[in-house]
């Protein structure tokens, strides 16, 4: 208990002086009725950001062993590393890499369409590498575009490459609502390439979010998309 108190004291001391951001995001997608994301990231320098995030989804459909299942829950626990490639007064170009683990419940059986296959909970490795362009549009408003090369490899029940790197185009905006607060909105869409798995061939997602920056906003903290 004492160690935990020391850890929390240390964390709060560090967070009060570091560029730490807390993100809350919610949205819907082709495969999810709804999802919510809680993220914590640290702008280590103007160029580098590191973080962790947890996303929970109430899914419309997903795939287990390349077979479509409906109506269940999924959680994705991710790490984040993002770095600046280039920047000037109105333009910023970053890359990001967001590896994670997706844990998915087995769905409830539909009495009208009994399963022909015994579904088990699934675990998968999710890789989200990509690029993000950020442009200053107005004093407090920034526009974003970029690409997310979403890749999924199922580990359990059987190991298979569920999705080749797929090219999801991103478009979004962030508005600096106050010294510490940023409002984010984002959409993402693109062809989804199945490998040994299945993908429904296309994916879209929309989301809105709120970011609180402990030390106050900077250009870097206005970046959305990761």
């Amino acid at each position: 208990m004492r160690h935990l108190a020391v850890f929390i004291a240390c964390f709060l001391a560090w967070a009060a002086n570091a560029q730490v951001m807390v993100d809350l995001q919610t949205g819907t997608s082709k495969s999810d009725y709804s999802f919510g994301t809680l993220g914590l990231s640290w702008q280590a320098t103007d160029a580098w950001r590191f973080g962790v995030s947890l996303q929970n989804s109430d899914y419309r459909y997903r795939f287990i062993d390349a077979r479509k299942v409906s109506n269940g829950y999924a959680g994705t626990y991710s790490l984040l590393a993002a770095g600046r490639i280039a920047e000037n007064d109105v333009f910023r170009f970053d890359f990001f890499f967001k590896p994670g683990i997706r844990i998915m419940s087995s769905p409830d059986e539909d009495p009208e369409k009994p399963f022909l296959y015994d579904f088990k909970p699934s675990t998968a490795l999710v890789l989200d590498p990509g690029f993000l362009v950020t442009m200053k549009y107005w004093n407090r408003l920034w526009l974003h575009t970029g690409i997310n090369l979403h890749t999924v490899a199922q580990i359990k029940p059987t190991a298979l490459l569920e999705q080749y790197p797929s090219s999801f185009l991103m478009a979004g905006a962030s508005y600096q609502a106050g010294k510490h607060w940023t409002i984010l909105a984002q959409a993402m869409a693109g062809p989804a390439s199945g490998a040994g798995g299945d993908t429904e061939k296309f994916f879209w997602q929309t989301s809105v979010g709120l970011r609180y920056t402990l030390k106050g906003n900077t250009t870097a903290s206005l970046l959305s998309g990761y």
């Binding site: 002086n17 160029a47 920047e87 575009t145 690409i147 296309f202």
Partner: protein, 223 residues
């Protein structure tokens, strides 16, 4: 000793917090990112794609080097074609089926570029080398297989193990773009391309399905 450890730990946390103050660096390379929508001109329909290029302008901005990707699939391509199965093959009692095409292409693009009209326009000549993975897939309720086997397994069986294939891609083109916003470096452009695919062969599409012209619309964001 514990007090000293805690003091050192908290000091380290403060130092890490302060160490992030760093000035932005001036870019030495002109980077760009270009989202793209395009249409593959088939004889009976337009195959719609989404994609992007990401890369740099080098040699005093006379040459663009980029990684490219574009793909067609899903609801943005509702076109279906009816295919007869090989003799003796049936699916849910049918001897043929409606399928859709999906496709992904990626590789490297090299494009010399030339300013025109006093710099208001830019002409570039993209030459791309890469690979495609493309095939044909069951749609709608046909994706609910009758025996619990995967759709992919059924597609293999229905089309003589040739529902999809990989091949090499060569593509040449001509693109014209203009600046939309000089302050933020946003350009918009249009291009015509011709794609030639080598080593790709499928039951439904044969070998020539993706030897075709392509028309692209794109935005280019750069520093």
């Amino acid at each position: 000793m514990k007090k000293y450890s805690l003091f050192l730990l908290l000091s380290a946390c403060f130092l890490v917090g302060f160490s992030q103050e760093e000035n932005a660096v001036s870019p030495k390379v002109k980077w760009f990112f270009a989202p793209e929508a395009s249409g593959m001109v088939h004889s009976d329909h337009l195959g719609r794609t989404l994609g992007f290029q990401v890369g740099a302008k080098v040699a005093r901005e006379r040459l663009m080097l980029a990684f490219f990707y574009y793909g067609r699939s899903g609801p943005i391509n509702p076109h279906t074609q009816t295919v007869a199965f090989p003799e003796g093959v049936t699916y849910k009692g049918q001897s043929g089926i409606d399928v859709r095409a999906d496709h992904a292409a990626f590789g490297v693009m090299v494009a010399p570029q030339f300013p025109l009209a006093g710099g208001r326009l830019t002409l570039d000549i993209p030459v791309s080398f890469g690979q495609i993975g493309a095939g044909f897939y069951l749609t709608g309720e046909d994706r609910d297989t009758p025996d619990g086997r995967t759709v992919s397994a059924w597609e293999n069986d229905l089309f003589n193990q040739a529902d999809a294939s990989f091949g090499y891609l060569l593509e040449g083109g001509l693109r014209l773009r203009t600046t939309l916003s000089p302050a933020s470096g946003i350009e918009a452009g249009i291009g015509v391309h011709y794609s030639r695919v080598l080593g790709w062969d499928t039951y439904v599409g044969g070998t020539d399905y993706y030897n075709l012209p392509r028309i692209s619309l794109f935005l280019l964001f750069g520093n």
